[in-house]
Amino acid sequence: MPLITSSKTKPSYDVIVVGSGAAGGQSAYALCLSGSKVLMLEAGRNYDPLSETPMLNTHAQAPLRGAGTPDKPFGFYDATVNGGWRVPNEPYLVKRSKHGPGWYEATDVTLSTTDQNFMWWRPRMLGGRTNHWGRIALRMGPYDFKPRERDGLGINWPYGYEDLAPYYDKVEALIGVFGTNEGLENTPNSSEGILLPPPKPRAYELLIKKAGAGLNVPVVPSHLAILTQALDANKVSNFLHPQDAHAAAITAEAMRNRLPCIWATPCGRGCAIRANYQSTTVHLPPSLASGNLDILTDAMVREVTIGPDGKATGVHYIDKKTRKELHAKARVVVLAASGCESARILLNSRSHLFPNGLANSSGKVGHYLMDTVGSDLSGQIPALENCPAYNEDGVSGMHLYSPWWLYKEQLAGKIDFPRGYHIEIGGGREMPGMETFTGLADFTGGTYGKKLKEDARRYYGSFVGFAGRGEMIPNEDSYCEVDPDRKDAWGIPVLRFHFKWSEHEEKQAAHMQKTFAAIIEAMGGKVLGKPELNGRQAIAPGGSIIHEVGTTCMGNDPKKSVLNQYCQAWDVKNLFVTDGGPFVSNADKNPTLTIMANAWRACDYLIAEMKKGDI
C-alpha cells in the first residue's frame, strides 16, 4: 500500500480519519471519492494482503501445526498482526473474578479459563480487524433500531431501518455480499440485484437444515462478504456513483482487480486475490487511486486538539518509529479507531474547555459498552460417519445459518429473555489440524494402532458445531474509562473496563445451549460434553466475541448522548465518530456491515455540511 511518512504530510487536510478498518476504510472511501483531502492515521504497521497472506499454506508448514499461542491467539495463520488479546506495550485493565478487588492488567489469551471481566481484541495493522474477520454481513432489522418501542428495554436509535436501508444496499454492492432474500421477520431483504448468489450448501449443513425444519428453526443461506462471482464493475460503480463518472471509474477499476473466491483457504488469513472484503483490498485501493488519501501508519493518536473556539483543529499522534509526538491539522476529525479506542481518545482529550474529555458534556463517553452474547456446543453425528469424500471447503465460512426465529413468541411473553440470537454452524471435512481429533477417545474407547487409523477415517467429518450470537442490551454497569495512573509505552493513559451481563443475556445463553442440543439430537447425534444450562456459565467472556460497540452513543438528546444521528459530536460540530461507538443497541446481527452503512451515512452528511460551509 503506498504510504507517506510523517515528514511528508500536508500542512492541513479536509478530514483526518483515525483508524483504517471497517469504519475508517468506509469513511475514507466516502470522503475521498467525493473529493475531500483525507489523512488516515493507523496505529499499526503497513500491511499488504497481496504479498503477506498465506494462501493455501497447510498447517504442517506452520510452527506447532498452526495452533494458537499467546503471540497468535487465533492460530499462526490468522491475519492479525501485532495484536490479539494483548498488544505489546499497550495494556488495558480489567477486573478478575478469581482475584481480589482492584484493577489487573489484562494478560489472558485463553477464553475457556479466563477470569477477566472483559477481553479486548486489537490488531496493529493497516485494515485493522477487517483483515481477519468472519465476513458475516447481516443487516439489522426494523426492530433492532427501535428496541425500546418493542419491549421497553434498552435505547432506541435516533433513526430507523428505513434511513439506513439505502446505505446497506450501497455497502453490500461495494464490498460484495452473497445471500438470499428470505423475507423473514426482522431479517431484511436487500434490494433486487444487490446480493451475489450464495454457494451451494454442504452436506452437513443440509442435515442441519433438515433437523432444523423439524424443530421450526429456519436454516437459510448466510450472508458473507465474499465474492461468489466477479462483481459487475460498471453496473455496481454506476449504481454507487450515479452522478459522478470519475468516482465510478475509480471504483470500477478497483473492482476489476478483485477475483471471485477460489473455494479454498480460510478467509481469516485474509485474501491475496481480494475475493473477500477487507478494508485493505476493497476500501483503501480506490480511496488511494482518487489521489485524495494520505495514509500514515505506526501513528498512534493520543488526543484530538481543540482551538480557542472549541472546534477540533486536528490530532496529536505519536510516530511509533521515531517516538516523536507530532500534530496533524484538518478541518474535520473523524474517529474510527474502534468503539473503545475512540472513546479512549476522547477521554484523553482534556482541556480547559472540556475538562471531562472531549464531546463528553453528557458524561456518556465510554458508557453502554456492549459485546455479543456467545455460546457454543458441538456434536458428533453418526449419519456422517464414513460418508463418501468430497471437497467441501466452500468459502470456508458457513454457507447456511439460522436467523432468530422466535420474535412472535418473545412478543407474546412466552420466552424468558427479551432479545434474539442467530446460529452460526460449522463442521464437516475441514482441513485437518491439531483440533480435528481432540476428544476422539470418547468415541473410540481409546484405540491405538491400525484400529485408531480406521477410527480416524470413520469419524473424520462427522462433527458439527453450533455457535449462538445474541443481542446484549446496554446496561449501566458496562463501560470503559481511562485509568488515572497507568499509561502505555507511548505515554497515553490506558482504558479499564467495567462489564456485566444481565439475566437477559444469561437466560439467552442457556436457551442457545438447549437449542443446540435439540438440533444435535434431532440429527441423531451425540452432544460433546453436555449442554451448559446455567446461563452464567454458558456465556462467553465479555468482549470475546469481538463485537465491541457502544461507548460514544448517538441519540436525539445532547444531555443523554455523545453524538447526533449523523455521528456528529453534540459538543464539537467538526468531530465525528463512525465506528461501532455510536451503536445504542447491539442486535444479534454481527455489527461490521452496520458500522459501514452507518459510517457512509454519516460521511454523506458531513460532505453536505462541508459543501454548505457549515463545518
Binding site: 504497521r45 504442517a60 479459563t113 477415517r457
Partner: protein
C-alpha cells in the same frame, strides 16, 4: 499468563513421585530451567514454510527421540492407506511442540517428558528392557493398560493421562500432513473455479 492446562500442585507431586520411582531417560534439569527461548513473536512471516527447530531449540535426547518414535508408530503404524508416524516425522513435530516457549506447550512438556520417563520405567518394571526394545506383543501389553483414561486401573492413571495427550498430539501432527490428508480423503485446499456442493453419492448416503 493464565494457563488452563497447568497441573495443580497435587497432580504435579504425583507425577514427581511416579517419575522418581523409575529409571530416568529424562534430564530433570530441563524442567528446572524451563524453556528460555522466545516464541515467534506477534508478527512472524506467515507465507514461509517452517520446520521444527526454526524458532526455538529442540529438546529430545537421542534416547527420547527413539522412544517417542517407537511409541508414535505403535499408535500410528503404517498401513495400506498411509505411512507410519515416524515416516511423516511426527516425532520431530512432537519435539517442536514440547520445546515451544508457550504456556500450553510447556504444560505438555511436563506431561510428555515425565510420561516418557514413566513409560520407560514401566517397561523395565515389567520386562527389564527399555520400551523401544520391547516386542510388539509387549508394547500392546503396556499400551492396553493405559490407552483409556476411563478404564485405566490402579497405578496406571498417570500413564493413561500421558498416553491420551501423546495420542492427541501425535494425531494432530500426523493428519495435518499431505499424507494425512490423503488418508482421511481431505480433498480441499485446492483452488477451484466453482463449488458444486455435495455430489449425488453423498446426498444418497445421507438420504438427502
Amino acid at each position: 499468563m493464565n494457563d488452563g492446562t497447568r497441573m495443580d500442585r497435587r497432580e504435579a507431586l504425583k507425577w514427581i513421585a511416579a517419575a522418581s520411582a523409575t529409571i530416568s531417560v529424562l534430564d530433570l534439569s530441563s524442567f528446572a530451567k524451563g524453556v528460555a527461548a522466545k516464541g515467534y513473536g506477534t508478527d512472524p512471516n506467515l507465507v514461509d514454510s517452517y520446520k521444527p527447530g526454526d524458532f526455538w531449540p529442540l529438546t529430545f535426547t537421542r534416547e527420547q527421540h527413539r522412544l517417542v518414535s517407537v511409541l508414535c508408530d505403535v499408535i500410528l503404524p503404517a498401513d495400506e492407506k498411509s505411512p507410519s508416524a515416524t515416516e511423516l516425522k511426527v516425532p520431530d513435530f512432537l519435539d517442536e511442540w514440547v520445546s515451544a516457549p508457550y504456556p500450553y506447550q510447556q504444560s505438555d512438556r511436563e506431561l510428555i517428558l515425565r510420561g516418557l520417563d514413566w513409560l520407560e520405567g514401566e517397561a523395565h518394571r515389567r520386562f527389564q528392557k527399555g520400551f523401544a526394545d520391547l516386542t510388539a506383543a509387549q508394547h500392546t501389553q503396556i499400551c492396553d493398560d493405559i490407552c483409556s483414561v476411563e478404564r485405566a486401573g490402579s497405578g496406571m492413571e498417570a500413564g493413561a493421562k500421558f498416553f491420551s495427550r501423546f495420542r492427541d498430539l501425535a494425531m494432530g501432527g500426523f493428519y495435518s500432513t499431505p499424507a494425512g490428508f490423503k488418508d482421511l480423503q481431505y480433498l480441499g485446499n485446492v483452488p477451484l473455479t466453482k463449488f458444486d456442493g455435495p455430489p449425488p453419492e453423498v446426498l444418497a448416503y445421507l438420504k438427502l
